[in-house]
């Protein structure tokens, strides 16, 4: 993973929200920028190196989520905010004495704050439920296109290039079809519950 130059907090936040190549560069930057916290927290909590690395990866994903959906409100530095997330994640691991490696923490499988807000507007039944994961039942191309659009924030031109599609319009069409397919799968699943 290439180590890029330094970013300010505002650049980090703007890049994360804009998505695409900026998102990729900044996520790589953050991976390297906060590694110094690893030995600091390891010494405090006495977790194994593997547990620390897993917690670090989880924490970075959580930080990115909070920046993307606006939960991070710039009330502290991004690094301080990350330290808090990382420390709390490590405390959770320490309490559970988690032995499973490379398994996402439960929080990473739950609805995030924004999603819960919308679900609350409809009813409260889904509030605490985990996300019913169905995207993996789609083909690889559909998964790639939907993640590039809905998570990484690539433009349609970039998605077309990344998925070897002829142009942005083809990418947009594919994305529409894949999303429709996913929603259909979800409907079928939800109806069967």
């Amino acid at each position: 993973m290439h180590k890029p130059s330094k970013y300010t907090d505002d650049q980090l936040i703007a890049g994360m929200k804009s998505g695409g190549k900026d998102f990729e560069n900044i996520s790589t930057y953050m991976f390297h920028a906060y590694k110094g916290f690893l030995p600091k927290i390891k010494n405090k909590l006495h977790l194994s190196q593997q547990q620390m690395q897993d917690a670090y990866a989880d924490s970075l994903v959580k930080l990115i989520r909070h920046i993307k959906n606006g939960s991070f409100r710039k009330e502290s530095k991004v690094s301080s905010y990350f330290y808090t997330i990382f420390y709390n994640t490590c405390v959770d691991v320490s309490r559970k004495n988690a032995s499973n490696k490379n398994i996402l923490t439960l929080e990473l499988l739950e609805y995030d704050a924004r999603e819960r807000d919308l679900l609350k507007m409809i009813d409260n039944k889904e509030e605490a439920a985990q996300v019913v994961r169905l995207i993996h039942t789609l083909g690889n191309t559909c998964q790639r296109i939907l993640m590039d659009w809905g998570y990484y924030g690539y433009s349609m031109d970039e998605i077309a290039e990344r998925s070897n599609l002829s142009n942005a319009e083809s990418a947009r069409s594919m994305k529409y079809k894949c999303l429709k397919k996913l929603k259909k799968l979800i409907n079928t699943k939800m109806d069967s519950l």
Binding site: M1, K17, S27, F31, Q49, Q50, Q53, D54, Y56, A57, D58, L60, V61, I64, R65, K68, N69, G70, S71, N102, L104, L108, L109, Y111, D112, R114, E115, D117, L118, L119, M121, I122, E126, V131, V132, R133, L134, I135, H136, Q143, L146, M147, W149, G150, Y151, Y152, G153, L179, L182, K183, I186, N187, M190
Partner: protein, 266 residues
């Protein structure tokens, strides 16, 4: 609700999920959801689909991060401890060798002359030359640096059995009252033995008799005094001296004195 209106709200929902929606638009969604059950269903589908996409994206990114760490090194247990113990020991050992090297280099060992060969075994007592000289250890001093260079040279000549040279070198030392006061015993003993070896027996006796019983070199002086009489042919005086030595239980030449007495009696 028309499809266009539905698409409009779906875009608003996406913006809301991405944290890009302002308060005014958010209120618009809330109001529309309350009023339209179909929109509620569409919103639910959209949220669940987007949650699926997000969870899949987060899982992928998380795996990428986890795989970006360097492999965790496997630690061995015993070797580092052994090295931890051995290294300081080797270091101290090296220091000790260095210290010894520099110490011996800066302070060369005191040069000791070879011991004078003993002539006691199979000796011919009638030959003066076979008489053992006083040990160099008796003549040298631990305070070599304080002793006149002449004394060192005299000892060297004496050990080499160059008795005349030795006496010549000792001559100026007789004027050094301080040296004589400190080293009278060994100085006089060397002169006496040198004269004995040069068969100047009277001179030898004169030197040796001057060493008093309180002097540490007295036992040596008595021995060589007896030999001076012995080789001078003064049998009676020699016998008296030798018997005194034989009767002295602690005298270092007691056994050899007995042998000389036997030759006198013959």
């Amino acid at each position: 609700m028309s499809q266009d209106k539905m698409d409009y709200f779906i875009n608003l929902i996406d913006d809301f999920l991405d944290g890009k929606l302002n308060k005014e638009k958010e209120m618009e969604i809330r109001q529309a959801i309350k009023e339209d059950p179909l929109l509620q269903k569409v919103v639910k589908q959209q949220v669940q689909a987007r949650a699926n996409i997000r969870v899949a994206g987060e899982a992928e990114l998380r795996t990428k991060f986890a795989n970006s760490f360097d492999p965790i090194a496997v630690q061995t247990k015993s070797k580092p401890r052994l090295i931890k113990v051995l290294l300081p020991i080797l270091f101290l050992f090296g220091l000790a060798i260095l210290a010894y090297y520099f110490y011996t280099k800066s302070t060369p060992p005191i040069k000791r002359l070879p011991p004078i060969a003993s002539v006691e075994a199979g000796e011919n007592l009638t030959i003066l030359a076979t008489v053992e000289d006083p040990s160099y250890d008796l003549l040298r001093s631990e305070k070599d640096s304080e002793i006149a260079e002449n004394w060192q040279n005299a000892v060297q000549a004496f050990i080499a059995k160059k008795y005349e040279t030795s006496l010549t070198i000792l001559l100026p030392l007789s004027n050094d009252s301080l040296f004589i006061a400190d080293h009278f015993g060994k100085y006089t003993l060397m002169k006496g033995v040198a004269n004995l070896k040069l068969e100047r027996f009277a001179k030898a006796k004169e030197n040796l008799i001057a060493i008093s019983p309180e002097n540490p070199y007295y036992d040596q002086a008595i021995w060589y005094l007896a030999l001076s009489d012995y080789y001078a042919g003064n049998s009676a005086e020699a016998k008296t001296q030798l018997e005194a030595i034989v009767n002295n239980k602690t005298h270092y030449k007691k056994r050899l004195a007995q042998k000389y007495l036997v030759t006198i009696k013959k």
